[in-house]
Point group: C2
Chain length 460, copies 2
């Protein structure tokens, strides 16, 4: 026991974490050209942490480190790297070095690395792979992007359901080509179609003579190879699945495990949050300035066009504003309240649609609720703002006008903020993408119009 503990202790301390201290020590080793120390430090990191380190370093520093690690570059790092960084590392290491690395990866990781590359690079890498592996990867790439087929692992254990526990255990002991980790054994019929699963725990706990179909779990979820990964993630979460068989035309071709799902959930969520803010998914810390600029440009342009409409509405009232310039002073308040309330509503609705909580069956109820919230907050803020404006400009009628405008504005925000994503979703658009620019535009335009038209009728 004593040396196990020692072993354990030394192993624990050997796994370095990516800390500020670690980064500064690798930086100074690079500065002083102590390349042996650089390699040792990098090798002491888990590959996921090393990928983080590469992402964290500046461009020049990263190139130095990649160069130092060229001969000992762990292939798994590729699968962990952010896309933009990965592409630069691939260019630096060269296609033939990358092809070697891809050959060492699991098929699903290899597909993840290859799918983002240009066709040119893809075919070069594929060309240099062993035939068998190449076929598996090409088959994977033939499934649609973000589908179960891309996500699945090709290594699984499948046996006939009339095997006994003993037979299965012997098979697993003798077989050389089992997956590294697995939790469920799939039972298949004579057409290689999955009919149930047996968790390993049940195998261990059953007598050798028991037939697998006696202990199999029959209520299994079978995932078609073309199912979208978002749908797959929903199923896993809803049913608390650990793994599920993937079928192509009914035939078992792979397995998806819950740890793959963790990454999908992250990805899908990133999509949602980025789209709500009008940022492309590829726009992250690691993308080049010019790519980030482009990704933001189109969204800014759409918002500019919305703002032009709002400006046009105001231009209809220049006479009114010239006479009562306080209106210009107060317009940001109208815009801010409407914009904030509509973004709040929109976010709740988009989130609920993504979580499948907002469905046709409760759509009207949801819109009704948001309008009710708009009415309540509208009245409260009408009183608050009306009073402030009255106190500021000593003009009770102006206070009344802005109060009325705020009520209309918050009700519109509740109505449009909830109904627009629902309508977009029904029409087949992503509710997160299109909503926020139109939304602000609508609340701005209606808000300014109501405010200025009331002002023109009551105050002049």
């Amino acid at each position: 026991m004593a040396d196990i503990k020692q072993n354990y202790a030394s192993n624990q301390s050997a796994i370095r974490e990516l800390t500020v201290e670690f980064i500064s020590s690798i930086n100074s080793a690079l500065d002083e050209g102590r390349s042996k120390e650089v390699i040792d430090l990098a090798k002491s990191l888990h590959y996921a942490d090393l990928a983080d380190l590469l992402e964290n370093l500046g461009h020049a520093r990263r190139e130095e480190l990649v160069e130092a690690l060229r001969d000992s570059f762990n292939p798994n790092i590729f699968a962990e790297l952010d896309e933009a960084v990965r592409e630069r590392v691939i260019i630096q290491l060269g296609i033939s070095r990358v092809a070697e690395a891809v050959a060492d990866l699991q098929v699903d990781d290899a597909i993840e690395v290859i799918e983002e590359l240009g066709e040119d690079k893809q075919s070069k890498i594929l060309g240099s792979l062993p035939k068998n592996e190449r076929a598996l990867i090409e088959q994977g790439l033939s499934y649609p992007e973000d589908s179960a087929g891309r996500l699945m692992q090709r290594d699984y254990v499948a046996v006939s359901s009339d095997w006994s526990v003993g037979q299965t255990i012997d098979f697993m002991r003798d077989s050389e080509k089992l997956p590294i980790e697995f939790f469920d054994i799939f039972l298949i019929d004579d057409k290689h179609q999955p009919i149930g699963t047996v968790p390993l725990g049940r195998i261990i706990r059953s007598a050798r003579s028991v037939k697998l179909f006696e202990i199999m779990r029959k209520h299994i979820k079978i995932i078609p190879v073309s199912m979208d990964q978002e749908e797959v993630a929903f199923l896993f979460r809803q049913r608390d699945l650990m793994s599920a068989p993937v079928v192509d035309a009914g035939v078992l071709v792979g397995v998806i495990t819950v740890d793959d799902i963790v990454d999908v959930i992250h990805e899908e969520h990133e999509e949602d949050i980025m789209r709500l803010a009008g940022v492309g998914e590829e726009d992250d810390l690691y993308s080049a300035v010019i790519d980030t600029m482009k990704s933001r440009f189109s969204w800014l342009l759409i918002h500019l066009m919305s703002a032009m409409v709002a400006a046009y509405v105001i231009s209809l009232f220049v006479g009114t504003i010239r006479e009562l310039v306080a209106l210009a002073v107060l317009m940001p308040i109208v815009a801010t309240m409407g914009g904030t309330a509509s973004i709040q509503t929109l976010t709740v609705a988009v989130r609920a649609i993504a979580m499948r909580e907002l469905t046709p069956s409760n759509a009207y109820r949801t819109i009704g609720k948001e309008i009710a919230v708009g009415v309540l907050n509208g009245f409260i803020f009408a009183i608050i703002i009306g009073f402030i404006v009255y106190a500021w400009f000593d003009d009770s009628l102006l206070g009344l006008v802005i109060g009325l405008a705020i009520i209309v504005n918050l009700i519109v925000a509740g109505f449009v903020g909830s109904s627009m994503p629902i309508i977009l979703q029904r029409l087949g658009f992503d509710p997160a993408v299109a909503s926020s620019a139109f939304l602000t535009s609508i609340t701005d335009v209606i808000g300014f119009y109501v405010f200025l038209v009331l002002a023109a009728s009551f105050l002049l």
Copy 2:
């Protein structure tokens, strides 16, 4: 084989999905008082789908369904229900019925249900539980909210590392009280401290005489009971863990598996997206109108205060605006461009902080990049907007002034949008919460000020 397949087929069709058709058939069964059919329909659903159904139904309808299911209410539904809906169902069913259900739940699920209840209800339910279960739940509740201790399952398999494979298999066959599902066996020392894990697959594939320490995985991540769940989720994702032991003062007390992590990731994401939009986490489709209103009120109030500052800035220039009322027309463009650009930057930064991509080591680089993006887009939009304004108002100087204001505005948006969340994070605040109101305020104020001050100096 034949009847296995039949069995399988009937099982598949027995698992109903929650579809629009299903909802309408349960609705009509409720309408027509066919309570036997209601119960059958509800029972044909997986409990997670039944929970979704309860969430989806209107208040009155839900009460009818809960009443119909009172005697056959599956305890697992409680763990799946949204908090707001759960509370109403608990009130309807009554504490003693709920206590029965809690007694049937796994300890981690029971804690999830109980932790959200008021102290009064908590102690009533705890009081009616069997002593042993009560102690486990009370221990769980003693750990901080959102900690590993709340998340972990208490059922795990732990044996001494000098046991042989054969001994372990016999132990598992004989033991009555094993967890329903498990994938790893934990090896412990004589102080009940975890020193390694053995995946079940390795047990099955090894000869009976092999000692567990020979096949154990030594590089395990050990999770302290007080670790925040966000940290735990990060570890699981970073290390592709399937399960990890949880220790209290070094002693093994539970296990966290990756399927628990899936829910944590959802929760944490929901927090991020909601906070960015200024919505409370408890603000969802199912919360009452009054709760939603309150949750949004404070954020609207903060935005109102920001807007007041912007209004004050404008009020300093009433003379200028009165002379050149086109300025009032153009102000929404200035506000929209700055607001949109800063929210884009903020979202990328907040997301990167949450993903631990934005760290002290690349903070300056990130801010620098965002400023560069601001400069580029600033110049492009200055030209676009300057030209539009020149064409609209036939005033080249006005076009120049708004162009300059847009450049300043987008640079400020890039700088403030990236540096503010970094600073807030360093000061120990949640970068998502506080940022967006301040941000819009700062870009509005600076944008309006620069625009109006330039207009006052060049145009009058």
